[in-house]
Amino acid sequence: MEILVASAIGILTAAGIYLVLRLRTFPVILGISLLTYAVNVFIFGSGRLSIGAPPILSDATTYTDPLPQALVLTAIVISFGMTAVVVMIALGAYLGTNDDHIDDAPGRGEDTV
């Protein structure tokens, strides 16, 4: 099972980084979403993987570590809010300039330095 989870994190991270380096804003935002999926599975996995062990006290014999699951919940909520904000700002920039490029190359935005 560890191979499955580890390769999932790796593939999501690789795909996320590939998309983040693209030219248009929309793939970049998708790449950030993939990276947040990867990091959430990573934090979850830092509490060690186990099968059939609940995080909340009940009548089970072994329990899994509940703290990483709480960390993941917080991280999911925060990144979902951030993604909403970045989509709104990117949409505003795109609708204002009719241009979805993410960089300001000379001639496309303000001259740099």
Partner: protein, 514 residues
């Protein structure tokens, strides 16, 4: 347990929603509430700083749960000093935003401003790394809103880049936290400091990776080369009062590096030897140099000031990167100086833009109010480049003095002095093009897009420069204070025992809650 320690977080957090619920369409009431809130914040921060000035570490356990399972807020000399710095800066920036009517150019400026103060205060006061992440996100999301305040296409595009870069930084922070938790099983700073020392010498890969990831995250916030690329565009396009407030956000990155790398991963720790101890100083020297070259190369005034911020952060990290008590004391002094000088410069950039209409460093006709703006620019430029008699020079002397015993002393001295020379040339050229040469050009002055800035704006900028002068006059007592702070940082036993040994509820059932 006193509740004053959480007040710098709770007060803005309550004030902001109250403003948006009760005074959403009344700018006057929002302004009054905002200024009153910041004044109260200064009073609270002063009280906290006075209470910790004898070396006591104040502790606030949220929900009365004992560390390491509960979240704690810790007030020692460094935290309370940084909260006070933020509050004083916020007052002058707020006065400028009100005086120049920047706050009226978009909705919700004051609300976002209060949330920003909440995030920064929480980041300074927290004693838990995941709580630090949460407060980083609070301050970042408020900064996203403030960054695009007043809108405009260029600002929105720069805002998209700023947000995306910081989202990547937050993701990296989570990777670092996950790695740290996997290695040590805790995220409380004091508990981490204990557990990291128990890691056996043949299994150090995980913790070394976690330490490097963590310092990369803080280096992004502190704009250390090569992670500085987000800063020039974002700080130049942000509304100037917002850019002036952002001057303290880079200091959050520097604070986090100082806190984590003196408490959890001190330089003499065997498991992380050869990492940040060796690499932070060269990259900080590189930041100093790149910032100075950027100052010389800039074609617009706002970009020039943004590179000056990179340069001054490089100087702070040079002092931190030497990791001695003296150097950390000089870094703290320089941090205070750099915050006020950079903020004053961003506000002066706005004064120039208001009176001149544009910020290109080309000769233009003389404008109204240029004499006063030129005087303020000269004082601020003397401050940030480190010329005598202002606090930049005193700070630079302290850093150079602390560098005597370092292995890279020759590099530190030469790069600090050469980059100061380059910055002086850059600022002098900008000042002469903007203010002196205008007198010799006889072209008529078009009135559109130019206006005389309001008196309150000048008062706010003058206040910041006055603080710089006070920092020079009281450099001696200030240095004594920062030396005591640095000594408390390098011997963290009081910090760790206060955090870990204070019982919370349910702690009498087991010892110390472990």
């Amino acid at each position: 347990m006193t509740h004053w320690l959480i007040m710098p977080v709770v007060l803005p957090a309550l004030l902001a929603p109250f403003m948006i619920l009760a005074a959403r369409y009344h700018m006057g009431i929002q302004r009054v509430l905002s200024v009153a809130g910041v004044l109260a914040l200064i009073a609270i921060a002063l009280g906290l700083a006075v209470q910790t000035s004898d070396g006591t570490v104040m502790l606030y356990q949220l929900g009365d749960w004992a560390a390491p399972f509960g979240i704690v807020l810790v007030g020692d000399r460094l935290s309370t000093m940084m909260v006070l710095l933020m509050a004083v800066l916020a007052l002058f920036v707020l006065l400028y935003a009100i005086g120049s009517r920047w706050d009226a150019r978009g909705p919700h400026f004051h609300v976002l401003f209060q949330f920003q103060l909440m995030g920064i205060a929480g980041a300074f006061l927290t004693g838990d790394l995941f709580n630090l992440f949460v407060f980083f996100e609070v301050l970042l999301i408020a900064s996203y809103g403030l960054m695009i305040h007043a809108g405009g296409n260029t600002r929105l595009r720069a805002g998209v880049q700023y947000v995306l870069f910081n989202l990547l930084g937050s993701t990296l922070f989570l990777f670092a936290l996950g790695a740290l938790y996997a290695e040590t099983g805790t995220l409380n700073m004091a508990d981490l400091a204990q557990r990291v020392q128990l890691i056996s010498a043949d299994a150090t890969v995980g913790i070394r990776v976690a330490a490097v990831l963590l310092i990369l995250v803080f280096a992004i916030k502190a704009a250390i080369v090569p992670l500085h690329f987000w800063l020039p565009s974002s700080y130049a396009e942000a509304p100037p009062p917002v850019a002036a407030l952002f001057a303290v956000m880079t200091k959050v990155g520097a604070y986090a590096i100082i806190r984590v790398y003196t408490l959890i991963f001190p330089v003499d720790l065997a498991v992380t030897s050869g990492l940040h101890g060796t690499w932070l100083l060269p990259f900080a020297l590189l930041s100093l140099a790149v910032g100075a070259i950027g100052v010389l190369a800039a074609k617009k005034l706002d970009r020039m000031v943004a590179f000056a911020v990179i340069s001054s952060m490089g100087m702070v990290m040079v002092a931190v990167g030497m990791f001695t008590t003296e150097s950390i004391a000089s870094a703290l002094y320089y941090m205070v100086h750099s915050t006020f000088a950079a903020a004053a410069l961003f506000l002066i950039v706005d004064l120039v833009r208001q009176s001149r209409g544009h910020l290109n460093l080309i000769t233009d006709a003389p404008v109204k109010g240029a004499a006063l703006i030129a005087a303020l620019f000269m004082v601020a430029a003397i401050g940030i480049t480190g010329l005598p008699p202002l606090s930049g020079f005193v700070g630079k002397l302290m850093v150079l003095n602390a560098a005597f015993d370092d292995g890279l002393a020759v590099w530190v001295w030469s790069i600090v002095l050469i980059s100061s020379l380059i910055s002086v040339v850059g600022f002098a050229r900008a000042g002469s093009v903007l203010f002196w040469k205008a007198q010799s050009d006889g072209a008529p002055v078009p009135e559109a897009g130019r206006a005389m800035p309001s008196p309150l704006s000048f008062v706010a900028v003058g206040g910041l420069l006055g603080l710089l002068m006070m920092l020079t006059v009281f450099a001696g007592p200030m240095y004594t204070y920062t030396t005591a702070t640095a000594e408390q940082l390098v011997t963290p036993d009081t910090y760790m025992s206060t955090v870990l040994d204070t019982p919370g509820k349910l702690s009498d059932a087991k010892e110390g809650g472990h």
